[in-house]
């Protein structure tokens, strides 16, 4: 038996037929991101899944895990227009979508488009903004349109929002409600790098040195060493998105997805199960993941790999489960048990009928 890591950079399946151009495009992106971001293969994969499917991604992780760096390098790698908004409590919807400004010379209103008019938007610490700002962004995410004054504007294509949330420091934040969390196709929880990866991060950082500027010098950061030359164009991205649509989804796989979603709705520990949007996201995500792994068909491994990112933020434990100290990942693990067997503490299995 050999070990296998489902999150490692995959070798193409020789039995599958993925367009060579797309496979090469994906390989180049991973390679370029790897020159700057150490480890985090999973989050790179999830970001590509979101990018190829047009879904939005919510990253949860403590500060310092290279979330911003990752999104920056991804934008530069594919030659996408990239904007970043640092969410604060005093941010206004017009700061994001734009506003009408009175032109004093012509005495007419002129539309100022906000930073949301971009391909890749990094909404940093989205839970720090007031609910009306969150709603404005999430509405734009859903409809891919914004209204400024009396005019409605379509957002550029592709349009992808990558939002971040800090799971600690909840004071002064506005937690996203379930309905708004549901708009995010994936919610990925970043982990600390392994020891070996952390050692590599430190080694690379120590080699950055300083940069002369004006009459002085400043310490160089990872952002200074980003390659400016993209490895792929928007056209490559569109081809990858088209290739995702060609990935075969068997009826058996669809049945697996329906089964998992249904289990979340009938689990005794869950107050809120998954919406149909979760099933759609699982299928879309699995297709993109299959493509990234060099397959033109999805398999249960894709479902298992994406389940946490797709399902966990869409389900809510009930009061009894919380009082018993149950956690979402624990319940999800139970749901994904192929047998639906009883958990370690002997609780009843999810009833699937």
């Amino acid at each position: 038996m050999t070990s296998a890591d489902p999150n490692a950079a995959p070798a193409p399946d020789p039995r599958s037929s993925v367009p060579p151009g797309t496979a090469e495009f994906i390989r180049r992106i991973r390679e370029r991101v790897g020159t700057v971001v150490v480890g985090q293969d999973v989050v790179v994969e999830r970001t590509l899944v979101a990018l190829f499917t047009g879904g939005h991604l919510l990253l949860q992780g403590v500060p310092g895990l290279a979330k911003t760096l990752l999104v920056s390098v991804l934008a530069k790698t594919i030659d996408l227009d990239f904007r970043r908004i640092q969410f604060t409590v005093d941010l206004l919807p017009s700061d994001i979508v734009g506003s009408e400004i009175l032109d004093q010379r012509t005495n007419e209103f002129r539309t100022h488009r906000g930073p949301i008019f971009t391909n890749l938007l990094l909404a940093d610490e989205i839970n720090r903004a007031a609910p009306k700002v969150q709603s404005a962004l999430l509405e734009a995410m859903q409809e891919r349109k914004v209204t400024i004054g009396n005019d409605t504007y379509t957002l550029p294509a592709p349009f992808l929002v990558i939002a971040t949330q800090n799971p600690v420091e909840q004071s002064g934040t506005f937690e996203l409600p379930e309905a708004q969390l549901d708009r995010f196709m994936l919610c990925h929880r970043l982990q600390y790098p392994s020891k070996a990866e952390e050692k590599e991060v430190l080694r690379r950082n120590a080699a950055l040195g300083i940069r002369r500027e004006d009459k002085g010098a400043i310490a160089r950061t990872e952002f200074d060493v980003l390659e400016k030359e993209p490895v792929g164009s928007v056209e490559d991205l569109v081809q990858a998105m088209e290739a995702v649509q060609l990935v075969h989804v068997s009826e058996t796989f669809t049945d697996h997805v329906v089964e998992v979603v249904d289990r979340t709705r009938n689990h005794p520990d869950l107050e809120l199960g998954c919406s149909p949007r979760a099933g759609i996201a699982l299928i879309k995500g699995a297709r993109a993941r299959a493509l990234i792994h060099g397959r033109n068909f999805v398999i249960p491994e894709d479902l298992f790999a994406l389940a946490e990112d797709v399902i966990l933020h869409r389900m809510r434990l009930n009061y009894e489960a919380l009082a018993d100290g149950r956690t979402g990942p624990e319940v999800l693990r139970e749901i994904l048990e192929p047998f639906g067997a009883a958990s370690r503490n002997g609780r009843a299995p999810a009833r699937v009928s």
């Binding site: 697996h256 398999i299 249960p300 389940a307 639906g340 009843a348």
Partner: protein
């Protein structure tokens, strides 16, 4: 025998009856009116009495017509000066010494009487209301029993809230029916697949069961399912099975599927021993068909 001397305190009127006692029954005719008040009005007097200290006899019934309280005791030469407060409940003349006793429980026979008079302000011949003819309905077992019963009911309700729901949840789970064994669940699916009439839901169930079977057999239950499946695809024994299953169940229709011998592939799972890796808490043990 030396008698008490007393005077009124209330209303600022000092009613010293005898300077320092020495009063005797024969002198009663010259005595001023007895101290006292109308029914229900308290009155205070000061008396000087000999002997050990006195205290009021506790009033432990509703019949005693006088309520007496010793307000203050001060030494007075070889005697004691007492400030007494009394309140009459019934009109009449009374002797306060009847309501006093020694703290050391010695006799009070040596005390001269302290007569007081309680008057009624009502005119004579006042009609008294009849005594209530009906008494409240007696409680079956008294107040204490009632409180006890309420407490028991309250505790029973609390216990139901705390434990009743959980018990119901457990009893609602499908444990009443014996879980079907893996072999029992696999057999009809394998047979259906061999005959070629297994529907998509059955195929999905078959794949899930085989994944679960191999996860247990390969000792991969504790790890992430995605990683477990990835390992099983590379497993020496399970790898060919899962790759063939992928070709059969998930790959787009094509020539690769025609080469798969389903009967041969599933043969090892057709007649698994009944106790293979069992028991398994089947989610559909309550009777769902395969």
């Amino acid at each position: 025998m030396s008698g008490p001397s007393f005077h009124r305190r209330s209303g600022g009127i000092v009613a010293a009856l005898a300077a320092l006692c020495l009063a005797s029954p024969g002198e009663a005719e010259d005595d001023p009116p007895l101290p006292g008040r109308s029914v229900g009005m308290p009155e205070r007097i000061e008396v000087i009495l000999p002997g050990p200290e006195l205290e009021a006899v506790p009033r432990d019934d509703r019949e005693t017509p006088i309520v007496l309280r010793v307000v203050r005791v001060d030494p007075h030469g070889s005697r004691r000066r007492y400030e007494l407060e009394f309140l009459g409940l019934e009109p009449g003349e009374y002797d306060l010494t009847d309501y006093l006793r020694r703290k050391d429980r010695s006799s009070t026979a040596d005390l001269a009487p302290i007569p007081v008079s309680i008057r009624s302000v009502l005119p004579p011949g006042q009609v008294e209301p009849n005594a209530p003819s009906r008494r409240p309905t007696p409680r079956p077992w008294g107040y204490r029993a009632l409180v006890l019963a309420v407490a028991i009911l309250w505790l029973a309700g609390l216990a139901y809230l705390l434990f009743g729901g959980r018990r119901r949840r457990v009893s609602a789970s499908p444990v009443a029916v014996r879980p079907r064994t893996l072999a029992e669940r696999l057999r009809p699916l394998v047979e259906g697949a061999s005959r070629g009439d297994l529907d998509p839901a059955g195929r999905a169930e078959l794949e899930r069961l085989l994944i679960g079977y191999w996860r247990r057999r390969a000792g991969l239950e504790g790890i992430d399912p995605a990683r477990a499946v990835a390992i099983l695809r590379e497993h020496d024994e399970a790898g060919p099975v899962f790759r063939s299953l992928e070709d059969w169940l998930h790959r787009p229709p094509g020539p690769s599927q025609e080469n798969i011998d389903i009967i041969e592939l599933l043969k090892p799972y057709r007649d698994l021993p009944a106790d293979t890796l069992e028991p398994v808490g089947s989610p559909d043990a309550a009777g769902k068909g395969a």
